[in-house]
Symmetry: C2
């Protein structure tokens, strides 16, 4: 537990991590101005100062639900604590790139971090390199991720990744085997083992390093949360290396964040005959990423940063959606429909915002409505 905070302060912070879908720059600004406890009271009562319409919009759907006491209890049972920006373990230096980045859409700094494990995020991100890549990695991808994870850990670097199957898991495991610290960033609550098959790996990462997330306990992993999480992998790492990635992948999103945040990006080349190397080869060919072959060239990324910040344009139908429409799409289940109120709660958006977003999405042919129920278009 953050010893410098009272229980009431901690509960206020916990409530705030759950009440708005992160990252929420207006809410962070409110906390910065009034303190966590007063900000939490304002949000809970929706008695917000004038000019705080953005906070209202971001919190109105969940403000009446305060599970902070049980969230803190769940976290404690999990060996996790809530880390706030005032804590000496807060990775302020690493995250400073996020406050400089766009706070719109999925950008912006985290309000607070739930941290499982004894590792200090501040200390661990002093020299850290991200290793990311395809969940459907080939043996080649897992081998290279393992080699890099091993080499970086042996050289004293923290390996940061997303604990997914494939490249992420191989990188974490190799770092652990080399006795080095490794840090995993989740796209769900700290109480969740995601993916379920990595429950033991997550426990091992927490055993010597840290598992972190900005999501309150109970939060499920969702597609937009992976994309949001990826900015933290990019931001916490001095440089990020994509080990193996297909033409369109989560790793490509982390790569885009890395460049957007001005951090060096590396990519490991692979056979042109392998679909899981298409993304890496393309990033290298386009000059977006520096070709990385081994630990030394990964570390060299941090010493040489000659890239511009151009980010590849989006190409999927949902890629260029405004963030609230994207969150509404993500809230809808694969089968069946939801009411407006249900969508608002799951997306963490005000009902009038959801209504507007649904109208746009229906116009685009992405959602269908029938008898007050909304569903994904077939």
């Amino acid at each position: 537990m953050s010893t410098s905070l009272t229980d009431a302060e901690l509960r206020a912070w916990a409530y705030l991590t759950a009440v708005a879908e992160p990252p929420c720059a207006p809410l962070i600004a409110l906390v910065d101005r009034y303190g966590a406890q007063e900000a939490a009271q304002m949000v809970k009562s929706q008695r917000l100062p004038a000019g705080q319409g953005a906070v209202r919009t971001a919190t109105v759907a969940r403000c009446a639900t305060d599970t902070s006491a049980q969230d803190l209890e769940i976290a404690a049972r999990r060996g996790a604590r809530l880390l706030t920006p005032q804590d000496p373990d807060w990775p302020a230096w690493a995250l400073s790139c996020l406050t400089r980045a766009s706070t719109a859409a999925r950008g912006g700094a985290p309000l607070a971090l739930w941290v499982r494990g004894g590792g200090s995020p501040a200390a661990m991100t002093g020299s850290a390199i991200g290793l990311v890549g395809s969940r459907a990695a080939t043996r080649y991808g897992e081998l290279v991720a393992g080699n890099l994870g091993d080499g970086l850990a042996a050289a004293g670097w923290t390996v940061i990744s997303g604990a997914a199957y494939g490249v992420d898991g191989a990188a974490h495991r190799a770092a652990l085997a080399a006795g080095g610290p490794t840090l995993a960033v989740l796209a769900c609550g700290i109480d969740r083992d995601y993916p379920a098959g990595h429950a033991r790996l997550l426990a091992e990462i927490a055993g010597t390093g840290a598992v972190v997330t900005e999501y309150a306990p109970g939060t499920t992993a969702g597609k937009h949360r992976f994309l949001t999480r990826n900015r933290l992998v990019a931001g916490l790492s001095a440089a990020t290396v994509v080990v193996e990635a297909g033409a369109r992948s989560g790793a490509a999103n982390t790569a885009a964040w890395t460049r957007k945040l001005g951090r060096p990006l590396g990519a490991v080349p692979g056979p042109v005959t392998s679909s899981t190397s298409v993304g890496c080869n393309q990033m290298i060919a386009d000059g977006q990423a520096t070709l990385v072959t081994d630990t030394a060239s990964a570390i060299a990324l941090v010493e040489i940063n000659g890239h511009d910040n151009k980010v590849a344009a989006p190409a999927r139908p949902t890629d260029d959606l405004p963030p609230e429409q994207f969150r509404v799409i993500e809230a809808l289940p694969a089968r069946g429909g939801l009411t407006l109120t249900e969508i608002a709660f799951l997306a963490g958006l005000a009902e009038d915002v959801v209504r507007g977003a649904l109208a746009h999405l229906e116009f685009r042919g992405l959602v269908d409505s029938a008898a007050g129920s909304w569903s994904l278009a077939r």
Copy 2:
């Protein structure tokens, strides 16, 4: 046969291709000034005009040996002819880059070309791409060479390579299978099947395309001739793609020639765990080569040429030797020794030049002498 030449003219050209180790800029200048027949007479008699010391040095060792009649007969039996720069089939446009390049060392244009097969080098090099790579190619390298050879041939491009085992052979074969023309450049006489295992492949290449060499019949393949040959592969191709290459390889030499001649260079990335992809990955990482993944990106090389002409520095003990010392080293057998006169003949150098070169090589510890016999240092 070049119908526009008399037998006497042809014999003069044939003599001149054998009398000096190509490329020999001073000899070409002599032919340009006096014509082939008069130049051949001057060389044979060593009655050269004042200021032609360089021609004397280059021809004195072999001038008394005229095998031109039998060379032309051997070539004819092989289905080969001697192509001179006056012939409409001479690839003047493609080779214009060589006259602009350094004429020192192994640079410079060929005096003439022995051509086996009905393909016109001028027509075939109108749109041609070189595919080169490791003799010890992996299945991956041969697969990619085959894909590129097939795709380029199908798209109407001539595939140019060196007929070696591995990547070269796979590229030629795929082009042939696709019904496209392919051109092989040899590092030995047109009468030689080198490598021996590719005798049938060479016949097939000649069947629809062309096998070319600047070496007179009877000339054996030697290391310096491979390096000299590589400039012709690079020069005859509008762009060259290295498919698979180790850290130091013949393909790296062709790549260096490609850049020196101002032609676009491509390289196919490969697994960082594969020693035969180290060279390709390095060329891409250093910005020397553009990453090539498929036929389209190989063809795109010709449309975009944004490289500078920086060439990587040599690194092997014999790499930075002056050309005459290199030729002397290459003339020496792996076992046993040779006399000064024998070395002079094999290297095509004047005895006093060989004597000076041997003194330098002995000083460097690269050769040993004993009782008038010279051998490679152990």
